[in-house]
């Protein structure tokens, strides 16, 4: 190969953006089409610099908008090669039309989404509004809690997305600034280990195979559209989680780092549990340990795969708890939060008697503190003791002004 390999230390100090960029380099992306937006920009800047320094061989197409970025990625992926990009917030929102097009065309693109609030008001900091906007778009969605995850999950995303039984695009989410701009020790793979884990790209129905012309992106009406969408949904629901599990297992063999579709922490005998995503998982784990010292049997369930939603794993994790808090880091605007709804949906028709309440937190980068979580666990225990939800079903954590709670 004509590009140079990079010598990495076993542990490097990287922020989440650079960790994702390094993983993209090691996967040797063929084409990146991109447009800058805070806080994800350093990912594609990283790729550009690697290209400039000959650490990667490929094409970087610096387009004029995020919609064009995903459009270029779709064309490149249909031509038959490894494709990735990154975005956040408004850029993600501008991409939404093309997200559906990419998944409907079954193209294995990897999109790093550094999560950030959606305007208005304009805000550059992290929350999960953009993540939720993409949740029905037919993409596989992984969630990183820290820079290490952002690095590792990129390899896993390529491996699963490009699997010929899957052929669906995948997103890797990380929290804006809290993960993307916070440097931590990241355990690395060597360039060969990283590349060999994802393997060579194997094209399928590629437009550059002129012996086998293909038509991509056809028109279907009521006669076929339903079947196409149903098949896509079926593949997401039935094929993807087993593939992810296999990829997690293989990755553990390679790196010693274990990922789970649902990350359970102290759940074996927990009475009360917090279900959350992103950086809040680590904070919640720390507080749960402290609660146990105070005699409250607390546990944490971290969502690692948002789509396809891991119903069975969620059911298993929450089977025996008595009170659950679902934490949503997006403004649900007129309904309980997404995670609240999905946890409720997963537990309905099961034997659980668990009490479920929903909390909205951290919008626009607002901190979720240990004190917040201590109160929250205490409230859950009060619900257990009372045998009913003693507080409103939906509460906002740490919002100034009059306390907001509903239902």
């Amino acid at each position: 190969m004509a590009f140079d390999k990079m010598e990495l230390r076993d542990i490097e100090v990287w922020d989440g953006n650079f960790a994702a960029a390094q993983a993209m380099r090691q996967c040797q992306i063929d084409v990146v089409a991109a447009y800058p937006i805070t806080p994800s920009t350093p990912i594609v800047e990283g790729y550009a610099k690697f290209l400039a320094d000959n650490y990667v061989e490929g094409e970087f197409v610096m387009v004029e908008s995020e919609h064009a970025a995903m459009s270029g990625c779709i064309g490149a992926a249909a031509a038959g090669g490894r494709v990735a990009t990154a975005t956040s917030s408004q850029g993600f929102a501008l991409m939404v039309e093309t997200l559906y097009q990419a998944s409907g065309m079954r193209l294995p693109i990897v999109l790093n989404v550094v999560n950030r609030a959606l305007a208005a008001p304009l805000n550059v900091n992290g929350d999960h509004s953009d993540m939720y906007l993409g949740r029905d778009s037919g993409w596989i969605q992984f969630d990183a809690y820290c820079p290490q995850d952002a690095y590792d999950l990129n390899f896993i995303a390529f491996k699963v997305a490009e699997d010929h039984d899957v052929r669906l695009p995948a997103m890797v989410h990380q929290d804006g600034f809290m993960t993307s701009h916070t440097a931590q020790g990241v355990k690395t793979l060597t360039d060969d280990q990283g590349y060999n884990f994802v393997g060579d790209f194997k094209p399928m129905n590629d437009m550059l195979d002129f012996e086998h012309p293909v038509t991509h992106g056809v028109q279907t009406e009521e006669d076929w559209h339903f079947e196409h969408k149903a098949r896509q949904h079926n593949d997401l629901m039935t094929k993807v989680l087993p593939k992810i599990q296999t990829a997690f297992d293989e990755f553990e063999k390679l790196s010693g780092r274990k990922y789970n579709i649902v990350e359970e922490y102290d759940m074996a005998d927990a009475d009360v549990a917090v279900v959350c995503m992103g950086t809040s998982v680590e904070t919640a784990r720390e507080v749960a340990t402290e609660m146990r010292a105070k005699g409250i049997k607390a546990g944490v369930v971290g969502i690692r795969v948002i789509r396809p939603f891991p119903f069975e794993q969620i059911k298993a994790a929450l089977k025996d708890v008595k009170a659950i808090a679902a934490l949503d880091r997006s403004s649900p605007n007129g309904a309980p939060g997404m995670l609240f709804n999905e946890i409720a949906g997963a537990l309905f028709n099961t034997d659980t008697k668990a009490l479920l309440s929903g909390y909205v937190y951290g919008l626009g980068g607002r901190d979720l503190t240990k004190a917040h979580l201590t109160d929250l666990f205490t409230e859950l225990q009060a619900n257990v003791d009372a045998g009913k939800v003693t507080t409103p079903l939906q509460q906002f954590i740490g919002v100034r002004g009059p306390k907001l709670s509903f239902l």
């Binding site: 063929d30 908008s65 064009a68 002129f210």
Partner: protein, 318 residues
Amino acid sequence: MSEMKKIKNLKEFSTSADRFEGANLLCPGCAHSIIVREVLNATNDDLVLSASTGCLEVCTAVYPYTSWDASWIHIGFENGSTAVAGAEAMHKALARKGRLKQPDRNPKFVSFAGDGASYDIGFQWISGCMERGHNIMHVVLDNEVYANTGGQRSSSTPIGSSSTTAPAGRVSYGEKQNKKDMVSIMASHGIPYSAQVAPNKWKDMVKKIQHGFAVDGPVFINAVSPCTTEWKFDPKDTMYLSDLSTDSLVFPLYEIIDGHELNITYRPKNVVPVEEYLAAQGRFKHLFKDEYKHLIKEWQDRVDANWAYLNRREEARV
């Protein structure tokens, strides 16, 4: 280097299109299919094609059928140019990495789009592709209207035309704006080649397409595409309408090299009055009422002024 395709006569030309099938759902008499065949006929090289949402797309790739015997992609209404640019970038990347399946081939990258998809919603995407210098050709099938959605005005719709969103009525003569000059706008990106073509002047078209394929960099082609449904004429008259548009100089044929050098490529021996062009189409019927007759003169004046302007640009070589 690929060999330039040689074409002797119209008969040979008309039978040599084997990568776009006659089997499609376009209206009888639709010029889109004629233009596509003429573009594809200009080369024997492999093709990577895109179509933006519009008549061409919805009529040629209806699952489980396809009219395309070449690599083809449709994403959305606005982004066909960028789809092809992405494929071109992938081709470059894989060529450099030695991963092309047929490395000796010299594919051409072409995006087809309507005037709506090009002049309006897709404008930014095309401009981006032109500015970035992708080795692609964007071909506008310019029927001056959103035909696929039933005849709404676009920024290519000419003044005085009646469309569903700018209809002629008791107090309106229809479209109030002049057609946007896309060729000049695209040429202003400094691209190596841009041109106007018409399906009736097939030799001129083939020459321009071949020129476009031979240059390295983005190419913009604007093709007049008479639409029997929205222009309201008999399907057998497509070529007659195309003749009228070029011979009245309503749609002059010229090329712009490297963003500045303008050559007029067709000078009609007998220039047809614009009135004849307008009279042949239902969309301009109302202009022949007494109260709007002055618009026909305005039309002629504008066409004359544009022709004089093109001639001055050709002479000035700037």
